[in-house]
């Protein structure tokens, strides 16, 4: 023990002196660790902020809902045992004016409990100062309070303070409603929103949705006392195992369509995290190798004085350990400071609350990875150093550290520590991502890339060696620099190739995920939906809208209501345990349409769309999500009841579409299937940006009898989230790429000693500084370009492999400008770093340098 302490003490003495000699090693360690800490912290902060937003969006940590009834007192008590509970009831109703005008408005009723909302705020100009929502909605002088969409006031011809009725219950419009915090997850709601109290809704217990197919939902939003939805949901599901009518939702699930994009974002963060680990590891590895390389004369001196292999190992392990801890500590500090400083700025860009904070778990991951990487990546160079023979002291310039023989790699003392650190890194990545499959395939990809780059480097050297000499001496020397014995080319190709491949992977993924997200945002979501239009009213409405100059887009579709009564001969009453959307489809009368050609945003996922002039037996197109739920296949029969008649239709295809992209129906029939039934039309209207409210008022004035349902708000909220996610992807991606480039720059600088030695020899032989720098620039441009070419292939293939299959499964495209800019940036960086480090050697006088070599 005391012997070990003595060995370590001498090692620490050997660390003293000019700290600048450790500059590159410390910088690489700090950058590598800082990259991991920064990306991981920013990712964690964004993820938790977006999760927090999702929780606000849901209105609680978890939600239980059912359509048929309110919770029983026992059920309520159970919810209350989990945390704070608030109840909301969604419904529809028609409001009428109190005067003789006959004005009416179709309402989307949101009835809420006294403690609503648990999270977020109801926005209303009247909710100021000490005024509470409970006060505004309370019963006063025989009238219940209501916060209403301003258009309701226009429709009913009243002002704030005016009264209206819903099924003989009197309400006073006590304010206008701008938004509710959980608006986006309430799903598709017809009507203008009116916020009332549950006691007010209870006053009219017979109230039923006047439009068939619209569901009442009783929701219980719970703010959990402890834990999050991951722990609470299984308990709740077990509690309600015998009553499948209860639907339990997490914030992610509540976000519906959005949940997929949350998942996408989180997966993207995982890949970025893994890539940052790898790029950081490459930086650490090269820094340690370069350090050992630079200390080989000291190692040889120790050997000549009689130091044994174990002593050399302990000596340099102690040094690498101390330097690693300093570098890693610096990296953690940089990562923490930058994260804390960057978060508020990112928060402002993203419009999410991101207070300056330090994520300790991210720092712990960076610390653990830094230590494991420093150990794992320094072990082999140290083992090689242990075997260094002191004969080097009697030779001149050149490396004496040789690669191990294959059988030496297999010695337990070599392979076991390496295996342990490899498994440690793998385990850590698995722990962080909680995704074994992802980490496994990522590791396989990295090992494959490693082999590819090694073989490619060897082939390049072999190929260049066989080239006839080029006429230009600069080119000749640059090529010789690549294939000469002891050339750093294989290491540069490996590090740069691996690093660049990861950066490209992130860039391509980032751009694909982003375009997937922005693609959802930019599509034309309608501002209003008009229902119950007669055939002749459609062109008239279109002409009016076009005349306002505020219209961006107008679409219409026939619509009538019908109920699916049997599926493959099974009455729908007997179908249980289906998703919410399927449950809605078979819940009773729902809107149904017919269509000759599929909508622009529709993708047929199974079967074929019918010909535009089809006039055969009725066919039906269903949303693809119901397919698995109901075990349906193309060719199966469905029975639909319309106006008391039943028709049997054959499933022709399944299709995917986004509701927010425009007009779409769960159930779409072939043309002429509904000729015998009276249909009205449903129209979607997209207002020009900023003209939504103005157009809404124009419509209310021009068509007082028609119902225009504003669906913009919920979609705007969804669009905001998509836009947030997209910007977050962009920021995290850019952060990872910039950090990665810095790590690579550090890696290039780490090999400077060898370049300095070569440069000085060239200068001694009569080359000017310009000549030498030109040769190095050419050599590094060639290596950079070669690595970049290989990295492009690996990066594109990797990104394709990740995006093209579940769980990510998004459209894949490669932006050549993006790839070119990352590659050109990397090559330029390589040349500049190479040239700068060479230039520093050239600035010293050769004699001075050559003496120092001793």
């Amino acid at each position: 023990m005391s012997r070990l302490r003595d060995w370590m003490r001498v090692a620490l003495i050997d660390l003293r002196g000019d700290l600048r000699r450790f500059g590159v090693l410390l910088a690489c360690l700090a950058l590598g660790t800082g990259t991991i800490a920064g990306v991981s912290s920013v990712g964690a902060a964004l993820q938790s902020a977006i999760m927090r937003d999702a929780t606000t969006l849901l209105g609680g940590d978890v939600e239980a809902s059912r359509a048929d009834r309110r919770a029983t007192p026992e059920e309520r008590a159970y919810f209350a045992s989990l945390g704070q509970v608030t109840e909301t009831i969604d419904s529809n109703a028609r409001a009428g004016s109190m005067d003789d005008s006959g004005n009416s408005a179709f309402l989307d009723v949101l009835a809420v409990g006294d403690n609503y909302p648990l999270l977020g705020k109801v926005i209303s100009p009247q909710l100021t100062g000490d005024v509470t929502l409970k006060d505004l909605l309370a019963e006063k002088d025989g009238a219940f309070g209501a916060l209403v969409d301003p258009v309701i006031l226009d429709r009913l011809g009243i002002d704030i303070g005016g009264h209206f009725t819903v099924s003989d219950v009197e309400y006073e419009a006590r304010g206008t409603l701008v938004s509710v915090p959980d608006g986006a997850v309430r799903g598709f709601h017809l009507g203008l929103t009116a916020l009332i109290s549950i006691p007010a809704l209870e006053k009219n217990p017979d109230a039923r949705p006047p439009m068939p197919g619209l569901l009442t939902q009783h929701r219980y939003k719970i703010s959990l006392n402890e834990g999050d939805y991951t722990t609470a949901m299984p308990l709740m599901q077990a509690h309600f195992a015998d009553d499948s009518t209860w639907k339990i939702r997490s914030p992610y699930e509540a976000a519906g369509q959005l949940s997929r994009f949350y998942d996408l974002f989180i997966r993207f963060l995982l890949i970025v995290g893994l890539s940052s680990l790898l790029v950081g590891g490459v930086g650490i590895s090269n820094a340690v190798s370069a350090y050992i390389g630079e200390r080989q004369r000291s190692i040889a001196t120790l050997r000549s004085l009689g130091a044994t292999g174990p002593r050399i190992l302990v000596h340099f392990f102690t040094q690498i350990g101390v330097l690693s801890l300093v570098g890693i500590g610096l990296g953690l500090l940089i990562g923490a400071l930058l994260t804390a400083a960057a978060l508020p700025v990112l928060g402002r860009i993203l419009s999410v609350d991101l207070p300056p904070s330090v994520d300790l778990s991210s720092l712990a991951v960076a610390l653990a990875f830094g230590v494991l990487a420093a150990f794992g990546f320094s072990y082999l160079p140290l083992v090689r150093a242990r075997k260094l023979r002191p004969a080097i002291l009697f030779r001149t310039v050149g490396s004496s550290i040789q690669n191990l023989k294959t059988r030496e790699y297999l010695e337990p003392g070599v392979v076991l520590p390496l295996l342990a650190s490899g498994l440690g890194i793998f385990g850590l990545a698995w722990l962080v991502t909680r995704n074994f499959e992802l980490v496994f395939w990522y590791t396989v990809g990295v090992i494959g890339t490693f082999i590819l780059l090694r073989v490619a480097g060897w082939l390049l050297q072999a190929g260049l060696r066989r080239l006839p000499p080029l006429p230009s001496s600069s080119w000749r020397n640059a090529l010789r620099g690549i294939y000469r014995p002891g050339s750093p080319a294989p290491v540069v190709i490996l590090s740069l190739g691996l690093g660049l491949a990861m950066l490209l992977l992130i860039s391509i993924l980032s751009s694909n995920v982003q375009s997937q997200l922005t693609g959802q945002v930019q599509k034309d979501a309608p501002t209003f939906v008009a229902s119950g239009l007669f055939e002749d009213e459609v062109p008239e409405l279109q002409t009016f809208l076009e005349g306002t100059g505020k219209l961006q887009n107008f679409n219409f579709s026939p619509s009538l209501t019908g109920a699916i009564t049997k599926i493959k001969g099974v009455p729908v009453e007997d179908i249980k345990n289906v998703s919410e959307e399927t449950s809605f489809m078979i819940s009773g009368e729902i809107p149904i349409t017919w269509q000759a050609v599929p909508g622009a945003d529709t993708t047929i996922t199974d079967g074929k769309w019918w010909p535009a002039d089809y006039d055969g037996p009725p066919l039906v197109s269903l949303r693809d999500r119901v397919k698995a739920d109901l075990g349906l296949e193309v060719g199966d029969k469905i029975e639909i009841t319309l106006f008391g008649d039943t028709i049997e239709v054959t499933v022709a295809n399944f299709r995917d579409f986004q509701f927010q992209n425009g007009l779409n129906f769960l159930v779409t029939l072939s043309p002429h299937s509904l000729d015998d039934f009276p249909a009205t039309y449903l129209a979607t209207i997209k207002a020009k940006e900023g003209q939504e409210k103005s157009l809404e008022r124009d419509l209310a004035r021009q068509y007082p009898d028609l119902t225009f349902i504003s669906i913009g708000d919920a979609l705007n909220q969804a669009a905001n989230i998509l836009s947030q996610l997209s910007t977050a992807v962009n920021i995290v991606g850019a952060l990872a790429v910039v950090n990665g480039l810095l790590v690579l720059a550090g890696t290039m600088a780490a090999g400077r000693k060898q370049r300095e030695a070569d440069a000085v020899v060239n200068k001694v032989l009569g080359s000017t500084r310009g000549d030498v720098v030109k040769v190095f620039a050419l050599e590094y441009a060639l290596l950079g370009a070669f690595s970049a070419l290989l990295a492009s292939g690996v990066g594109i293939a990797g990104a394709y492999a990740i995006t093209s299959r579940p769980p990510m499964d998004i459209d894949f495209s490669v932006d050549p400008v993006l790839i070119l800019s990352v590659l050109v940036g990397a090559v330029v960086l390589t040349i500049i770093t190479g040239a700068l480090t060479t230039w520093s050697a050239l600035s010293t006088r050769p004699a001075q340098y050559l003496r120092a070599l001793g």
């Binding site: 003595d6 050997d14 004085l305 009689g306 292999g309 009697f394």
Partner: protein, 234 residues
């Protein structure tokens, strides 16, 4: 009866360079006794340094017998050779090879630390201080190598080589990086110290005037030790 410190018999060294085999040492047979100062001279590339490396266990002879300080070095592995060196050898290099991050005192102490003599840190420092005083560097103990002149660095190297009281001192062109006066002073110092401590010295040099100061001179030529026992005239 003289005790041999170095004994070689038909020692050969062959190295592979690219695709060709170089025969560096050819049937070298020699003996150096305890306390004897021997110089090996010869032109560049004659194999002088290779001989020194083989004797120091820094390079393995291809065949033949190499016994140094009574130890057949061919039977030792790398770590065994390291232990052998720290117990028996002191090496002086042309390029000094001091550890740049350590002071003169620490560089000398390092040899004792590695030798694992069982001394305390205080005893090691005292011994290293004494060694530096013997080479006239008592006022340079806390200086880093970069703050020392070439002659001073080589004297630190000499103190480091001698502090463990080796049986054999191997010196490879120790004056090659020094001016003539300083070189002569270092050689004088080395010979005196070696004689005082009873250590044998094998000096590799191409400077015949320095070689003339040795007890005996050998000449290497094309890998052959042509004159193995030439006594220097008094």
């Amino acid at each position: 009866m003289s005790v041999p410190v170095i004994q070689t018999e038909k020692t050969n060294l062959e190295l592979i360079s690219g695709h060709s085999k170089l025969h560096i040492l050819k049937d070298v047979t020699m003996q150096v006794n305890a306390g004897e100062v021997v110089a090996v001279v010869g032109p560049s590339g004659s194999g002088k340094t290779s001989l020194l490396m083989v004797l120091g266990g820094l390079e393995r002879a291809t065949n033949g017998k190499v016994v140094v300080a009574g130890q057949d070095t061919s039977t030792l592995n790398e770590d065994g050779l390291a232990i052998f060196r720290r117990k028996n050898l002191g090496i002086l290099f042309q390029n000094f090879h001091l550890i740049p991050s350590m002071t003169a005192l620490e560089n000398v102490s390092l040899a004792l630390e590695i030798a694992e003599t069982g001394q305390s840190i205080k005893e090691i420092r005292q011994a290293a201080t004494a060694a530096l005083e013997e080479v006239g560097l008592s006022d340079r103990m806390t200086h880093l190598p970069s703050a020392l002149s070439g002659g001073e660095q080589q004297r630190v190297g000499l103190a480091r080589a001698m502090v463990t009281s080796p049986k054999l001192m191997l010196a490879d062109e120790p004056t090659g990086n020094l001016d003539q006066d300083t070189g002569a002073m270092v050689i004088e110092l080395m010979f005196n110290l070696a004689r005082k401590k009873g250590a044998a010295v094998l000096l590799i040099t191409h400077d015949r005037s320095l070689a003339a100061k040795a007890d005996r001179r050998m000449t290497m030529n094309h890998g052959h030790l042509t004159t193995a026992n030439e006594t220097v005239p008094a």
